[in-house]
């Protein structure tokens, strides 16, 4: 009994360590400046929406929201569309050929982003593309395609080969097997891949920091403007932070079973 109680105390401490920082940011976003900086910290307070008003009054932040939305949806859709076609083809190959292509795809993910961001930046300045959405959509699609291929292969592998053979015997062409058999059967996996791509793109900072201009700034880049603008405005900052991460936490919980699988590219099935 004592051991059991000890276990639950440990569990509580673990959850506290994991969740407290998040809780503190969200709670601070509802505090007035005076409450936010009170020492000892104020645990009970009358909430205010003042910080959210500040954030929504910030035109830059609103357009960053729109940019993040457009860029992450379009680049992810593009990556999943391309990725599912390639993954279907690869899933049908003999193991040796497949392994070598998969290794190549994986190797693309090891290089630091600096390596492709600098030449992209250089070329973009020369053709004046720095302030355009398509540059970011293309950059993120390029990053997401290898990821989408490797993850989608693991989902296509779960589909029994007999389904394809049966359709082939019935005279279906390869593309219609892909379209009418594999896509519907792997629907869950495709949606999960899409969500993971959106999640990754929404959260991505480095590529966005370098390649966005005034009109294409995404949320993670835009929020840093609260850092330098007249010192640090913690109230508005925590409100903006809450708004940025909330949609991703909801999406993440929706595909929770697939996240570990996605982040290890299926090398461990969650």
């Amino acid at each position: 009994m004592a051991r059991r109680a000890l276990f639950y105390v440990g569990l509580l401490l673990l959850l506290l360590a994991v969740l407290f920082p998040l809780y503190w940011v969200v709670v601070t976003s509802f505090k007035t400046t005076r409450d936010a900086f009170a020492i000892p910290p104020v645990w009970l307070f009358s909430p205010t929406l003042e910080n959210y008003r500040t954030v929504f009054a910030n035109r830059g932040f609103l357009s960053a929201f729109a940019n993040s939305f457009i860029i992450s949806i379009l680049s992810s859709a593009l990556a999943v569309a391309i990725g599912s076609i390639a993954a279907y083809g690869l899933a049908q190959q003999p193991a040796a050929l497949r392994r070598s292509k998969e290794k190549f795809i994986l190797s693309l993910r090891i290089a630091p982003a600096l390596l492709f961001v600098i030449p992209m930046y250089y070329l973009a300045t020369r053709i004046g593309a720095l302030n355009q959405h398509w540059l970011l959509i293309a950059a993120y699609a390029f990053v997401n395609v290898p990821f989408a291929i490797s993850l989608l292969i693991t989902f296509f592998d779960d589909i029994p080969k007999e389904l394809r053979d049966a359709a082939r015997v019935d005279g279906a062409r390869e593309f219609s097997v892909f379209w009418h058999v594999y896509l519907p059967a792997a629907r869950g996996g495709i949606v999960a891949t899409l969500i993971l791509c959106v999640l990754f793109t929404w959260n991505e900072f480095f590529v966005a920091l370098v390649l966005t201009g005034r009109n294409t700034q995404t949320l993670p880049v835009s929020i840093t403007s609260f850092l330098t603008f007249q010192g640090i405005q913690w109230g508005a900052l925590t409100a903006a932070a809450t708004l940025i991460m909330l949609p991703m936490i909801v999406l993440g919980v929706l595909v929770q079973g697939q996240i570990v699988r996605g982040m290890t590219l299926g090398s461990v099935k969650g």
């Binding site: 690869l90 190959q93 090891i110 062409r173 993440g252």
Partner: protein, 293 residues
């Protein structure tokens, strides 16, 4: 399968164009990057670059700032990977029993992983605020004197490390947990029946079964830690006094503050080579019998 049959196999048309595109793009990019790194291209005077051979690479090894950044990257990556694996494994063993709300605990553990890294950086910067931050308040409750978490060159790197550990240990936990649950329980029971003590079961039976999962997660964490950028940019900007500048961050500064993109790409290439060597070494240590899984 004969070559003729393979060549006419229509499924090849599904992946070949994309693989060819990716190959061409990466080869072109590599050549372009190497070409730039062998010149003295600067964004300040584009179009007037000249060939300088290996000067940028020679410069790297004589650049004390780059050497310090390389050493810091090694330190940060090693500490982050080792601590996250050890802590994650400890938590997995701790949680390895049936209890109410296990599913809920798993869901809650996801939260740091999917949190926007920039927001994680801001969160910890807020908690580490010297005057009104929670970290110093907790220390004062325990009667310990205040720490200048992000302002002291001796401490700042470890403060960033704490944030990294907070965000990524749950990832290790979830991955190893998944591996543990798919592992067979028979060997464990057999060992217990043979009279092994609980620590012996864990050490001699359970850990070897988790070896592959631990190796994979260690490789993933090492790759990501070498490239870590967001937390450094948000929490310290490489400071104070360059005490948190990693090689990746230094490369960014060289490229986008000094606009010296040739040297920056030389740094990026060295970083890539360094990463690959480190990974191959880790791989051969973690998977000693290559080819066999």
């Amino acid at each position: 399968m004969s070559t003729v049959a393979t060549a006419s196999d229509p499924t090849r048309h599904f992946f070949q164009p994309i693989i060819v595109c990716l190959t061409v793009a990466s080869v072109a990019l590599t050549l372009f990057v190497i070409w730039i790194s062998l010149h003295d291209l600067s964004l300040m005077r584009a179009g007037r670059e000249k060939f300088v051979g290996l000067d940028n690479y020679v410069r790297f090894f004589g650049d004390p700032r780059a050497m310090a950044a390389l050493w810091r990257t090694v330190l940060f990556t090693t500490l982050a990977t080792v601590i996250e694996i050890a802590l994650g494994l400890a938590v997995v063993l701790f949680l390895d029993r049936d209890f109410a709300m296990k599913r809920l605990v798993r869901t809650l553990l996801l939260v740091p992983i999917i949190m926007t890294p920039v927001v994680v950086g801001l969160t910890w910067r807020f908690l580490f605020d010297p005057a009104s931050g929670m970290a110093n308040y907790l220390l004062s409750l325990a009667g310990i004197s205040q720490v200048d978490w992000l302002g002291s060159p001796q401490v700042a790197l470890f403060s960033v490390l704490i944030a990294d550990i907070w965000q990524w240990t749950p990832f290790v936990i979830l991955l190893v947990m998944a591996a543990l649950e798919s592992a067979p329980t028979d060997p464990l029971d057999a060992a217990r029946v043979d009279g092994a003590r609980e620590w012996q079961v864990t050490w001699y039976v359970l850990l070897p079964m988790l070896r592959r999962a631990l190796a994979i997660v260690a490789l993933i964490r090492a790759i990501d830690s070498i490239k870590a950028f967001d937390l450094f940019y948000i929490m310290t900007r490489g400071g104070p006094a360059l005490s948190t500048e990693t090689l990746n961050y230094y490369g960014y500064i060289v490229a986008f503050t000094n606009f010296d993109i040739s040297y920056a790409l030389a740094i990026a290439i060295i970083l890539t080579i360094f990463t690959n060597v480190a990974l191959l070494t880790m791989y051969s240590v973690l998977f000693p019998k290559a080819g066999e899984r």
